[in-house]
């Protein structure tokens, strides 16, 4: 199977952390908080569409709220396939980093 890309991984983790409250605004805020970089809604929604298409996440339509000008939210939640992919990604990271001693970067700095 194909591995997740970094941005997919970040998005999925953000949705997972937000649990029940993962929709446009909160996901964007979480991503910005985690990466420290600005992200526009344009990129966000195209990426989310891709995740939906790959069946990593589900879409649910929520209730309208007044501060949104009476518009509904779309809530995202992780689908089983998404969990699987996350897990695999984590294991891959573990294997990849397994043999490398901590602070391997420090060596580079000193030399």
């Amino acid at each position: 199977m194909k591995y997740l890309t970094k941005s997919e991984e970040i998005l999925l983790l953000a949705i997972w952390r937000l649990k029940e409250n993962a929709y446009g605004v909160t996901i964007r805020k979480m991503v910005v908080k985690m990466t420290g970089e600005e992200m526009t809604y344009g990129t966000l929604y195209s990426a989310l569409d891709q995740l939906v298409r790959k069946e990593y996440v589900y879409k649910d339509i929520g209730d309208p709220t007044p501060e949104r000008g009476g518009r509904r939210k779309i809530f995202y939640s992780i689908a089983p396939k998404g969990f699987e992919a996350l897990k695999e990604s984590q294991e891959l990271a573990k294997t990849l980093w397994g043999g490398i001693p901590n602070l391997a970067f420090g060596e580079g700095k000193t030399s």
């Binding site: 809604y41 344009g42 929604y45 569409d49 709220t65 949104r68 000008g69 939210k73």
Partner: protein, 871 residues
Amino acid sequence: MKKPSYRVPRMAHWLLNRATKSHDRFSVLGDYEEEFAAIAKDDGLIKAKLWYWRQSIHSLFPFVVNKLYWNLVMGYTHLKLTVRNLKKQKRYSLINLSGLTVGMACCLMILVYVFSELSYDRYHEHADRIYRMGTFFDVGTRSLRGAISNIPAGPIIVQDYPEVQNVVRIKRYMYRALVESEGQKFFEDRIFYADASLFDVFSFRLTRGDEKTALEAPYSIVITEAMALKYFGQEDPVGKMLKLDNRQTFTITGVMEDVPPNSHFMFDMLCSLETYLTNNPERRVEWMGDFNNYTYLLLQENTDIDALEQKFDELIDRHVGRVFETLGGKMEFFLQPLTRIHLYSRMEAEIEGNSDITYVYVFTAIALFILMIACINFMNLSTAKSATRAKEVGMKKVLGCRRYQLIKQFLAESMVYSFFAFALALILVKFSLPVFRSITGAAMNVGFSDIPWLLPGLVGLIFIVGCIAGSYPAFFLSAFRPICVLKRQSVPGISASRFRSTLVVFQFTISIVLIAGTGIIMNQVEYMKKKRLGFDKEHTVVLQIMDESILRARKSIKEELKRHPDVVSVAFASRVPGHGARHNAFLPEGYNLQESVMMGAISIDDDFLATLGMELVSGRNFSEEFSTDPGGAVLINETAVRTFGWENAVGRTIRELDGRGVNKRIIGVVRDFHVMSLRAEIEPLVIENDPDQFDCVAVRIDPNDVPSTMAFLEKTWKRIDPAGTFDYFFLDNTFDSQYRAEERLRTIFSYFTMFAIFIACLGLFGLASFTAEQRTKEIGIRKTLGARVSGIVLLLTKQFTRWILIANLFAWPIGWFAMDRWLQNFAYRTSVGLETFVLSTVLALAIALATVGFQTIKAARANPVDALRYE
């Protein structure tokens, strides 16, 4: 919670609204608004607005890309559905596709035709500044508007008027000339004299020789590349000699590119006009002498044509004013744009027969009508088949499909059809264009690459056809109410067929008009061929005289030719009927100079009337017994007598207004006969007996053994004129060839009629099989209750018959009106007969019933058990 009092920036909001795809737009906009509200509360409105703008603009590109992506996915789905439907209903798809294909192919062919017609003479660099000068005469009772002009006017005009930059005069060498070079002899029909300035005015290019001097000296000749190949093969012809008519020898001074076929006149060889003027020096200054010339002027840019024509009046007044003062009447020069000659000029003495803009319009209309018939098929069949699509529509709607999405889907479907049909049509056109070219005789040398707006035009065609064909089904099908459809209640489209009937009636109206039109054109062509012409055109061979010196031995020639038992009689004449007559002003007895009459004139010998079976109404024929007959006596025709208002013409005199002005005695009146085609009215005619003008020999033969008679004639003629060539034609052939344009029209019309009927019947076939399918159960029940096969067939065909009968109500008046107007072009014509229309109706009905019949009979004969088994 109270709604926040501040609003998001409107422009940015609108932008976002456009850019996002529809199905998560609400969520996106909601997110924006939520954050906007939060920022506004914390940091103030301005910051919030700035944020909103920045976010929108940064997001725009990803949003649009995303939207396009999903649209593509949708498009692919539409395509997949269309192809599935196409496969599922093979018969309907085939009918739809073939109809649209043929319709589009017709359209494309007409497009090429129209474009080539419009392209005539436009290849000249200065095409928009070249004008042809024609002459208008008004002499007494007749006036004449001709494409011709005299010789001296051209050079004077260039000298006197600065707005005229250059001039070229062209003159036909002869209708036919024998060209000889290095032992090779051919007859050539397209030889002209031309001024040296030809290459400055027109954009003909020499591949060999010098354009400046090629046509300057007398006896120089320029030939086209085709001619060079014909006479000299690969050799360089420049400097070689050509002998014309055994009389004059020309030196070849240049080889020219072949004249493009989209030219209003074509030529193979050009002699210098200087040759003609050297041989006939008086022509240089004679204003009223020779009008068989064509003058083309190259004008400066932005010349006022009307003003220039006014100036010509003064010019004419200066040179020939006095002539017209005494004669009465007047003469004017007028200008015609070069590019309009081919389509708009139908004057006397054109160089070649031109086309007519009306035909361009008519054919365009026919092409569009045929395309419309094909589109109607598509509409009718898709709505008729709506029952099968109804469930699909209902299901989609239940699952949340919006109406506009359905419309989009159906339009996409018709676009796909349109595109396929177009691809097939292109292939069809590629193979049938040569055929079309040969039957229309149009130049059609334009390739697709010559049409600048072709690509957008064709894409437009696909799009328009798709839209027209798909529009009605799209709106019709998408309007289904899902509940009705899914509950299998009444499905609209089976009963609501009024729209469909209207369309079928429309299709057959067009078809019947086309059939009737073809019929009337056929009638007219037949009429023109069969009409009594006042002479017998059958079994008459006409021999051309090349060497006028043989005319001295006329008597012995006649005797020699008559030696064969099948040669009935032999006569000499200046021209035979079908080749027209020369024209001049004549003055009948008792008329004063101001009342001269424009008349045609031919010259014949005493055997001519008998040879061609012409009738003498009163008086006597020319005879050898009267030595004064040649030059002293004339015959006139009945029309002339009527024009002069005479009771008895014999014994009166008539005078030609030429230099000599001899009064000639009228010795007889000939029954009217046609000198020209039946398009033109018979005009007053003078028949002289002047041997100097004789140019051909008419031989009447018995058609017992034509080949042997012809062999005899050839052998004898070679003995009479050893240097010449045996050049002959049959009178009926040449006379009928005048109607080639009409015959061509008939052919084109019948082809397009066939296409129209074919497509209309395709649609009918589809509808018939659909109806039969729909009513299977009804038929089954009727049969179990005792209905007979014939009764059911009648029941099923009744509707179609009614449609076609209603179509007649429209077709008859339209057809009558249109064809009556066409017939007005002919001086002698058939009437628009009722029988043609009755016949077209019967024909249309027969074709339609034959189309419908098979399906109907099959349905009617089906075993009712099969139909009712599932009930």
